[in-house]
């Protein structure tokens, strides 16, 4: 009963914030609605006993996504008049289709068999050889390592795609617009004070992922934020996109992952199989490289393609 007192307002708030996002008249209203939805979703993930996902949702889903949406909205929001909505017939059809989908989905969720199918037991039965204590990390790095490998490659290709949006003459410059240096503002202060703390937190979150909630994506995203903050404050110039060190940092995760995976053919049972006794070591090696890559790739995705100096 006490649980319901907490869960009902959370669920109502989640749906309400989502509805407010759609109903908002102004673009900024919609962005604020989305930020609220993401934050409430983070709390819902905690209530669903999924702290690893809650961390990811907080850092990537709510924070990083909101930052890039807010940034683009602030650049095009005021200058453009909102476009005319689609014809009423299209909106009514969309409404019927969406309502139907929502009802079907809710019905499917309510008619799950009891007890629901679960892979929790097989994961725990096979966790010992990995040397990991966090079952979610074990799934990410061992049982379904192929998914994680492909995902790490997606990040590299996303950075390629974003950089390729740069106008020809901007190629080879630093990612993102150039920001004016502010020597004394609150932003400059935060950009000096936060990174030493944030870097420790980011590395810690990535490191404890083996045994506790956390991991390379969450930790890497915190590190990316700590890297981007001094760029925005104009204190540090980001590296050029043709800098080989930056490119290597972005590609290190998938490269190390792929090499360890291919090594599996020679020393273990096949692709992405770890040799007995060395699983934990190899997983930590991959996670270290991937933390670096997630941080570099996310920083470049937040900054965007190289651009001319932004107007103040």
């Amino acid at each position: 009963m006490t649980a319901l007192l907490l869960d009902l307002p959370l669920a109502l708030g989640l749906f309400g914030a989502g509805a407010a996002t759609l109903l908002a008249r102004s673009l900024f209203g919609a962005v604020l609605g989305f930020i609220s939805t993401g934050l409430i979703a983070t709390l819902v993930w905690v209530r669903l006993e999924a702290p690893d996902v809650a961390l990811t949702e907080a850092v990537i889903g709510a924070a990083a996504t909101s930052v890039i949406i807010l940034y683009v909205a602030s650049r095009i929001g005021n200058r453009a008049t909102p476009p005319a909505p689609p014809p009423i017939a299209q909106r009514v059809l969309a409404g019927i289709l969406s309502a139907l989908l929502a009802v079907l989905l809710a019905h499917a969720l309510f008619s799950l068999p009891e007890p629901a199918p679960s892979l929790a037991a097989p994961v725990l039965d096979n966790i010992a050889p990995t040397g990991l204590g966090n079952p979610v990390t074990a799934v990410l790095m061992a049982h379904r390592a192929i998914d994680t490998l492909l995902e790490s490659a997606v990040l590299v290709f996303a950075v390629f795609a974003i950089w390729s949006m740069a106008p020809e003459r901007r190629w080879g410059r630093a990612p993102g617009p150039a920001f004016m240096a502010e020597a004394h503002g609150p932003l400059a202060f935060l950009a000096k004070v936060l990174p030493p703390i944030g870097i420790v937190i980011g590395v810690y979150i990535a490191w404890v992922g083996a045994d506790a909630p956390g991991g390379k994506f969450q930790g890497g995203a915190v590190l990316a934020a700590m890297w981007v903050l001094p760029w925005i404050a104009g204190l540090v110039a980001p590296p050029s996109i043709s800098d080989m060190r930056l490119r290597l940092a972005i590609a290190a995760g998938p490269l190390v992952f792929l090499m360890v995976g291919l090594m599996g053919f020679a020393v273990a049972e096949g692709f992405l199989a770890y040799p007995p006794g060395y699983a934990k070591t190899l997983i930590l090696l991959i996670e270290t490289a991937m933390t670096l890559s997630v941080a570099a790739a996310m920083a470049c995705m937040i900054a965007g393609p190289p651009e001319r100096r932004a107007r103040p």
């Binding site: 669903l48 890039i68 683009v72 650049r75 892979l119 998914d147």
Partner: protein, 112 residues
């Protein structure tokens, strides 16, 4: 339902809201926001399935959780790319929509 019923309704509702927003709004940026609402809903559906699959002493099935973590990162990458495309569309044509005959196409000057 071990306490997931309110969240199941909210997640299904968010999926509906997100889909409606993607279909019934003409601003590309608001479509991207709606895409992310849809994403939050779909990921929560996984989360509810994970929580329902609590077994073997674990409070939730780790496999759907791992899929959601993967999905969140990919959704972020897709959103970042969509936003850069939106910004470039605006910079090169002045438009904020892909709809036919945008009312602002003639009045806004290209800035790039």
């Amino acid at each position: 339902m071990n306490g997931t019923a309110p969240f199941a309704l909210a997640a299904a509702g968010l999926v509906g809201l997100g889909l409606y927003g993607m279909l019934a709004q003409s601003s590309v940026l608001r479509k991207v926001i709606a895409f992310n609402l849809l994403g939050i809903g779909v990921f929560l559906v996984f989360g509810i399935a994970a929580r329902r699959g609590a077994a073997a002493g674990l409070p939730a099935d780790p496999v759907p959780q791992a899929m959601v973590i993967t999905g969140l990162v990919v959704a972020f990458a897709a959103t970042a790319l969509a936003l850069v495309l939106t910004l470039r569309l605006h910079q090169t044509t002045g438009a904020v929509t892909l709809a036919e005959d945008p009312p602002t196409a003639n009045s806004a000057a290209p800035s790039e």
